[in-house]
Symmetry: C2
Subunit: 463 residues, 2 copies
C-alpha cells in the first residue's frame, strides 16, 4: 500500500495537538527553504509543529514506520540548504518548542528547548549577568536548535569557539523515535564517546535535538575596538598572522577592497576607497588590559604596513566601527543576485586565498567581495552577478566551485561555519579522503539505518 | 590453526624494523600496566614499537587478519587501566614515534607524532613564544597520543578546556589498517561529522592516533595567585559558584581538610590545620587586569566567609602557593595504599559532594582526602587505606563504588578527566541511559566490527 500524504497527515494529526499538522501547500511555502541561494527545495507532504519531546518521538515513530523522510528545521536561517524540504517529506518544525526551561547561574548553564531564539537566550542570560557566547549574524531570529544542528559560528568564535564549545549536553530523538540524553551537567567530563560532538553539526541527519544544556560565561567587559587600513593584501595578511600570536582578540574581521567599495557606495562612511583591506579587531579584556591588547594589535598592524589605524573604547563609537563590517552583506546583496561562500583556511594562506578569489572573479567575470572572520581564517567570498541573466548565473556557479577548489588547494575546508547542507556535498567529498568518507557512511548507517533523517544533506556526495 | 604468540611475533617482525618486536616476558613487565591502582592486567603476547604510520598499519593488518586484540599505549601514565594489557594481545607501543614534525606560528598549530612528551611540546612551542595549553599532572612524562586517547585534563581546563579543545586534526589508523586524516588545518570548520571529537577520548577503542595537529596559543602572562582559607565547606562552595560568574580564572583548585592535614604532616607549610577547605585561584590576565581579577576573586571569597586570603603576583611565591596543591597526591599516597577517583559534578553540588565523600569515608572506615579542579566541578577523592590489609582493601573498593554512585546522584559524571578504562565501565553503564549505551555499541561496531581495538575498555559494562 502506498502511503499518501493524506493518510500520513491523518496519522500524524492523531498523535499531535490541534493545529500542529499543516498540509496546505500555500502555508507550507515559507517552510520549504532556508536562506541559501542557488539551492533547490522539494515539495513537503506535511509540516508538523510539535510542542514537546514526546510529540517529536511520535512523529519520528510514524515516519520511521512508513519510511518517510523527515527534515528537521528551526527558523530556516541556514545558508547551505540543510533545512530545505525534500519531496514527500515531513517538515519537523521545532519553532513552537521555545521554552527557556532553566537558567542556573550557580552551575553556569541554561537548559532550553530547540526553538528558542538565540538573542532571547542572550537576553535571559544577561539578566543574570551571564553571557551565551555564540553569535551568528542571524542571532536576532535563528534558533538554538538550528545553531546546534549546524554548529553555527559568528564573530565570537575567534576567542570563544563555535556553538559546539558552548554545548554541555543534549536530549536527542533518534530516527526510530527513541530518546536519549547525552553529555553532562558538570562543565567537564570524559565518560564515554563524545556523542554531543557527533550530534552537533550533523544537520539533522543523526537525530533531532529536543533540549540543550548550554554553557553560560561571565559577561565580558565592553570591548576596545581597533581598525586598521592596509594598502595591499600582503600586509593585512602579515598583520593577522602576527596578531593571533601576541593577542587573543574577541573579534578579528577583514574586508577586502571590493567589499569596502560596495559598503562605501551603499552608505558613504568615509572609508578609504584606495585601501586593499581593512581589519577590525576587538579586545574584551577589562580596563587597562583591553587598552594594552588593542595597542598591541595596532602596533602589529602598523609594523605590518597599515597606512592608518584608530582605536576606540567608547561603546557607541565601537558600534559605528562595526557597522561597516555589518554592512558588508547587505551592500554586496544590493548589487544583484548572490552566492555566499564560507571557506576557512590556515591563517598563513589568507592572502593567497584572497588573491585567488580575485583571479576567480576576473576569470569568471563576476564580482566577488570577500569579508569574514580573519582571525580563524574563515572567509566569506560573496559572488554577485546580474539578476535574470542565465549566463551570469552559470558563471557564478562555476566561480562558487572554483572557490571550494581554491580552499582545498591551500589546505582549507569548504565550510567554516555555514555547514554542508545541499550546497557543499561535492566539496565535502573532495575534502575528505576515501576512508573518512566511508566513516561518514558507517556512522550514518549505525544511527539512522533506514536513512529517513534529512536524506540528501550534509554527507559527502560520493561515498 | 591456532595462532600462537610465536608465529604472531614472527609475522610482526617481518613487517617491522629490527628491535621493534619484543616477546620476552621480563621486558614486557613495565608495559603491562598503566598507573591505575586496583586494576588487573593480562599477559601480552608481544609488544611492538613502530616508527611510522605505515608500520602501525602493518601491525593492525596482521592483528586484524588474525583477530588478535591490540592495546595501544603511550607512556602508561593513565589512571583508569585503559592501557593495561589483555591476555594474548599486541601491545602497540607508540613511544618511538616521538617527532615534533612541524611548528607553524603563522598558522597557530604544531604537528606531532603520538609519542611526543607533553612537556617537550610545551617547550618547543615556548621557543616560538607560543603555548600548548593542556597540562595534565603527568605532563613531564605523559605522551600527546595518550592525552588525546583519554581527552586528558589538568589545571588549565577551567579556562582553556580539555585536550579536545586543542586538537585541530588527527591521522588515525583504523582497526583494519586503513589510514585516514580527520579534522582540519584551519582553526575553524564544520564540514562533515566531528570525527576528531569521536576519536579523542575513545581510549584506543576506535582507532590508533599516528599524528596530531594541535592548536597553539599566545603564551599567557605570568599569573596572579590568590589563596583563601575557609572555616567550613559551605562557604568554600559558595565562593566557587560566585567566582565562576564574575571571573574567568586560569586555575581554581580546592583541597579539603583531610588533604590539608595530610600535606601539612607530609611537609609542614604552616597551613591552617583547623580549615575546612582551601581554594587556590590564578588569573593569567596581563598587568592590572590580572590584579583586578585576583582582587575580585579574593573579595568573593571574603564575602563567602573566608577567614584568610592572600595574593601574590610574584612567580616564585605563586609556585610556593601551588606547591601545597601539588603535594596533595604524594602526601595522601604516603599514608598507605590508595585508589584515586575522578568525578565531576555541577558546581552548585560541590559542597554536597564533599560532605557525601566524608560520610562515605566514615561509613567505610577509610581515609578519603578530596582535592581537585573546583572551577569545573572535577574532584579527586583519594581513598587511602592500610597496605596488605584485605579487609581494608575491600572497604576501599566499596567506597570507590559509593563515590561513583554519589557523583551520579548529584547529577555528575563518573570521570572528569581520567577516562573510563577498566575502572569505570560499570559506572559509565550507570551514567548512560539504555539508548546512549546502545549508541556506544553501534559506533564501536561501525568502526571496529571485529572488536580487536582495546577490547574490554572504555565502553559501558552492560550494553
Amino acid at each position: 500500500m502506498r502511503t499518501t500524504g493524506e493518510t500520513l497527515a491523518a496519522t500524524l494529526a492523531a498523535e499531535l495537538p490541534d493545529g500542529a499538522v499543516v498540509t496546505d501547500p500555500d502555508l507550507l511555502v515559507p517552510y520549504r527553504h532556508d536562506q541559501a541561494s542557488g539551492t533547490e527545495a522539494g515539495q513537503p507532504a506535511v509540516a508538523v509543529f510539535p510542542r514537546g519531546t514526546e510529540q517529536v518521538q511520535a512523529v519520528m515513530r510514524v515516519a520511521h514506520g512508513r519510511g518517510v523522510p523527515v527534515v528537521p528545521r528551526g527558523a530556516g536561517s541556514g545558508l547551505s540548504g540543510g533545512a530545505n524540504a525534500i519531496d514527500g517529506c515531513v517538515l519537523l518544525c521545532l519553532e513552537r518548542m521555545d521554552a527557556i526551561r532553566d537558567i542556573r547561574p550557580a552551575d553556569g548553564y541554561a537548559v532550553v528547548e530547540p526553538g528558542v531564539i538565540n538573542q532571547r537566550l542572550r537576553e535571559a542570560a544577561a539578566a543574570h549577568g551571564l553571557w551565551y557566547a555564540p553569535d551568528p549574524a542571524s542571532r536576532d531570529w535563528c534558533t538554538i536548535g538550528g545553531n546546534i544542528a549546524t554548529n553555527a559560528g559568528g564573530l565570537c568564535c575567534v576567542k570563544y569557539g563555535s556553538t559546539r564549545d558552548s554545548v554541555l549536553g543534549l536530549e536527542v530523538v533518534l530516527a526510530d523515535g527513541r530518546v536519549t540524553r547525552v553529555g553532562r551537567r558538570a562543565l567537564k567530563g570524559v565518560a564515554g564517546y563524545d556523542l554531543v560532538s557527533l550530534f552537533v553539526g550533523s544537520e539533522g541527519t543523526l537525530g533531532v535535538i529536543t533540549e540543550a544544556r548550554l554553557r553560560l560565561r561571565p559577561l565580558p567587559a565592553a570591548p576596545t575596538t581597533t581598525v586598521a587600513v592596509f594598502p595591499d593584501l600582503a600586509s593585512a595578511g602579515r598583520a593577522v598572522e602576527k596578531i593571533m600570536n601576541v593577542a587573543t582578540p574577541s573579534l578579528l574581521e577583514l574586508m577586502d577592497a571590493t567589499t569596502l567599495a560596495a559598503v562605501e557606495r551603499f552608505q558613504p562612511m568615509g572609508l578609504d576607497a584606495s585601501a586593499a583591506a581593512l581589519l577590525l579587531a576587538q579586545s574584551d579584556l577589562p580596563g587597562q588590559a583591553g587598552t594594552a591588547e588593542a595597542e598591541a594589535v595596532a602596533s602589529v598592524c602598523e609594523a605590518a604596513g597599515a597606512t592608518e589605524s584608530y582605536r576606540s573604547e567608547d561603546a557607541a563609537q565601537a558600534d559605528m566601527l562595526l557597522a561597516a563590517r555589518r554592512l558588508a552583506f547587505p551592500a554586496l546583496e544590493h548589487l544583484g543576485a548572490w552566492l555566499l561562500d564560507d571557506i576557512a583556511v590556515p591563517r598563513s594562506r589568507i592572502v593567497e586565498t584572497i588573491s585567488g578569489v580575485e583571479r576567480i572573479a576576473a576569470t569568471r567575470d563576476v564580482v566577488i567581495g570577500t569579508f569574514g572572520h580573519a582571525g580563524d581564517g574563515n572567509l566569506h567570498p560573496m559572488i554577485v552577478y546580474p539578476r535574470d541573466d542565465p549566463d551570469a548565473e552559470r558563471r557564478a556557479l562555476a566561480a562558487f566551485d572554483d572557490l571550494l577548489g581554491l580552499a582545498l588547494r591551500v589546505g582549507g575546508t569548504v565550510s567554516g561555519e555555514h555547514g554542508v547542507g545541499v550546497l557543499k556535498r561535492r566539496g565535502l567529498a573532495d575534502e575528505l579522503d576515501p576512508v573518512a568518507r566511508s566513516l561518514h557512511t558507517s556512522i550514518k548507517q549505525a544511527l539512522d539505518p533506514t536513512g529517513i533523517l534529512n536524506p540528501g544533506k550534509a554527507l559527502p556526495l560520493r561515498p
